[in-house]
Symmetry: C2
Subunit: 443 residues, 2 copies
């Protein structure tokens, strides 16, 4: 079924057919489908979804669509949706809605939920606390396996996951029991006997990227979050970790291409917003590049004497920029997946120096030979070869060290990527090139 | 505990202490720790791990380390490890080992396992079939919930996940039952009554990136894989999907920086291998950039007449390169996360044209004004402004269309990123620049 068909069926008041097809569809697909409809039809179609599915569909919709729906809902409808939603999704919703909608949502939740929501909203953006959910299964150490299974049966429907249960005494996390452990253990055993006490956990203020990396590294379905006193406050589930991984990657790539990251999708971002995300860095880089131009002006007489010198500028700029961007990409990515740490800085520099030696000599040899064959000018070949060796080595050193420096200064290393590094390296390449040229040709 | 402490304890033959600390550690951490030890100590330490943990630790080690261990193991030890390993991990192992080790591994598995391994290894690289596992819980539709729970108790220990069970009749996948459904349903109900028949699944030949995107999009713990006849052949679990996401991102970023992707980590890759991954594209781009140089040579007389023209070359090259790389990054990423499709090509082009209009006019205005103030030359300001408008627009169009063209030709769009686009755009920028200059200044 596509958006047009839904509109037609709504037009013809074929509500029963729609209801039945909706019931057969996955909630994620339904959210996408409803998002394609015009406002009025979206509201009508949403009312045809089941009560439980409604909340899930709502959770998967875009903020703009959620706002339209909230504004169209009666108080009772809103309360029904909110009751079925998980708290972390409600917290996400509150962050996106304008003040009047937030007020209406809060007035439709009970005091206890409001307190929990406020707590969730108080954690810094992109921290473990801000992405966790507080709905998990908690067990007591003295419970038997049978008790635990009964508890899951009772509360399971309201928990994000029942597959990892948390053993808690006085708010402290003592151990973890998986549903698998419960299913394959003797029913009379106590939780204390079967629980795993060697627990992997994070703190509320840990970065969401760290959380996602841990879930991936250890292959977990959920990761417990504790506060500074070691009290259990929530869990992050693997599906949220996957979303974090995707968002962080998109953010890194966007930054690496010198853009402000956008919260929305490509098509969901307006033309003006796209332009606003792209212009600031372009301006900074454009004005910085004029410095490279000024350096060239300084050597005006050199290329007046030997005009061919100018024709090598693009090649030198591009090659050194590419080399710098290769190194910086590897380091930025290595740090993002927790493979390269700040303490490795010397190891990285030493590795890049050796790689640069091989790369720069190869490029110098190939290009030197080309020039020798094409122009038959040995001096020119030496000039280009020597310049390549120097600029490529410098570019790889700048490329590997700037991202680590950024990390050291608690900035996002992804900023120190191709565009910025190219601009730095360009100026250096031109300086080195003309310095060697004036020397070799005694200009 | 770190590598040095382990070596010391081994030296002192404190095996009991080591065994106890190993038993308390997570298998992933242990694999990392053992990987840091010298060969001999690694083999000794590995023998101190428990039988079940041993296989898991082994699965998490690097291929180089796995080879050392396999070569040191007796036939009995090897068989024990292989018996405990999941088949998808064994298949991965076989892909990495040299022929003689592969032979030894295969001779220690039974005929049935060998047949399954051969099947797994026959799927194309990076396909759903190549990352799936064949160890899952299958149920029959007429079973009761109680029967199903008993089956899980019996076979659960050997399955990758017990949380999603697959209902199968005549090899065909009829439905899905989660462990949660089983736990909260009446024990006397049949599987047929509670199973979900609206199944999200993939085919063996689907790309692994598609698989990971589906698991993320629908928040699944496992995704069933069927063959061309619709028969169930395996499942992909969420932990493997996370690894795929990470590998695919690293591969994309590496390609986008004009490097051959490496299978190993940054430090795990040798200097020569690093150089070999980086040189080919650098050479291609370097030689292509000489064309831009040749174009400049053609306009030798223009910059002999007005030498200041040369000083704007770096700024024009950098700016158009950056604009092209911004567009291409957004499109490459959008296609990777399944937000932008080939059918959207006109929508993309239209969006980029409008963004380019805003961006190019802003840059042209700022730079034109700067030149007017610094040089007081209106003609020069118009030249640079006009060139920026043309090159930026062209760069964004090239940037957004080349990745889509690559996808259309079934190539990886990530190749059409900053370095290649910069080189294309550079030549165009210089051509446009001198064309406008000769016209304006009637050179």
């Amino acid at each position: 079924m596509n958006g047009k068909e839904v509109c037609e069926l709504l037009e013809k008041k074929q509500y029963r057919i729609l209801k039945e097809s909706f019931a057969d569809m996955n909630e994620v697909d339904l959210a996408e489908l409803l998002g394609e409809l015009p406002e009025k039809q979206m509201i009508m179609a949403f009312r045809l979804t089941g009560k439980e599915e409604g909340a899930e569909i709502f959770s998967h919709m875009e903020p703009r669509e959620q706002q339209i729906l909230v504004e169209a809902m009666t108080e009772r409808e809103l309360k029904e949706v909110l009751d079925e939603m998980f708290l972390d999704d409600t917290a996400d919703l509150l962050e996106e809605m304008p003040a009047n909608v937030v007020e209406r949502i809060l007035s439709n939740t009970d005091a206890d939920t409001r307190r929990q929501l406020n707590q969730l909203l108080s954690y810094p953006e992109d921290s473990a606390g801000s992405i966790m959910t507080v709905e998990y299964v908690d067990l007591k150490p003295q419970m038997t396996v049978k008790d635990a299974l009964e508890k899951i049966r009772r509360v399971g429907i309201d928990s994000e996951t029942i597959y990892t249960c948390y053993v808690i005494r006085n708010k402290k996390l003592l151990g973890i029991v998986t549903a698998k452990d419960l299913l394959i253990s003797d029913e009379r055993k106590t939780i204390e006997e079967i629980m795993e006490t060697n627990i992997i956990k994070v703190q509320t203020h840990d970065d969401q990227e760290t959380v996602a990396n841990m879930i991936r590294k250890y292959g977990l379905l959920a990761l417990p979050v504790v506060d500074r006193e070691g009290c259990m406050v929530g869990i992050v589930t693997v599906d949220d970790a996957m979303e974090v991984m995707e968002d962080e990657t998109t953010e890194d790539m966007t930054l690496m291409a010198a853009m402000q990251p956008s919260e929305d999708s490509y098509f969901g971002t307006s033309v003006l917003r796209h332009a606003r995300n792209r212009i600031p860095w372009l301006l900074v880089l454009m004005l910085s590049a004029t410095f490279t131009g000024m350096i060239i002006t300084k050597y005006e007489r050199a290329f007046e004497a030997i005009p061919i010198l100018v024709s090598f500028i693009p090649m030198l700029m591009d090659t050194s920029g590419n080399c710098g961007s290769q190194s910086s990409t590897l380091i930025i990515r290595g740090m993002a997946v927790d493979e390269i740490h700040l303490r490795d800085v010397l190891k990285v520099v030493w590795k890049e120096i050796r790689v640069a030696a091989v790369v720069s000599c190869t490029l110098a040899a190939v290009n030197g030979l080309r020039i020798l064959i094409m122009y038959g000018d040995a001096k020119l070949a030496v000039l280009i070869g020597l310049t390549l060796v120097c600029t490529v080595t410098l570019a790889e050193l700048i490329g590997c060290s700037l991202p680590m420096l950024a990390k050291k200064c608690r900035m996002d290393p992804a900023i120190m990527a191709a565009p910025l590094i190219t601009t730095c390296v360009d100026a250096a390449a031109i300086l080195i090139y003309f310095a060697i040229a004036t020397h070799l040709f005694s200009l």
